[in-house]
Symmetry: C2
Subunit: 92 residues, 2 copies
């Protein structure tokens, strides 16, 4: 089934305590070189029928009114790429 991806991230000027917690933990785990971490939400929506401009516009409306708090969050909407093989964790 065709899917649409909505990524919701805090606006750059908004403090991201979750991201900061991750960033502070990384050096303790031996991972250097990460100067900033931002954490947000990813929604994958399965849609009936092809993903055309009308569908993307509808999903944008959903994101604006329901999936994101546009006072503090930005969002992007796009047709999902064909399924990349997940990097890890997939049980064969």
């Amino acid at each position: 089934m065709p899917r649409v991806v909505v990524d919701v991230m805090l606006k750059p000027e908004i403090l991201d305590p979750q991201g900061q917690a991750v960033q502070r933990a990384l050096p303790r785990l031996g991972f250097e070189g990460i100067t900033d971490v931002r954490q947000g939400k990813r929604f994958e929506l399965e849609v009936e029928g092809p993903v055309d401009d009308a569908v993307l516009a509808r999903v944008r409306e959903m994101a604006e009114t329901f999936l994101a708090n546009t006072v503090i969050e930005d969002f992007t909407v796009r047709a999902a790429e064909p399924d990349p093989a997940p990097d890890a964790g997939a049980v064969a």
Copy 2:
């Protein structure tokens, strides 16, 4: 600064109560045609220096050991695309 994106989603066979809650709410808000919703996490990591294979491998290690629970989650790691203008919510 160059960024790497890590998307963490529940494995397809794992129940996603958050996604189901969103899916049940959409028709009540007047949004039809969405057959499934999956919700996950998106991390944006700012890295020192260019995003090369070594950096991507390190971030994959971080995802495997810390950002994702690979028993129930899959993750993908990729270099961030150049900043698309956010769809909405950006204050001019």
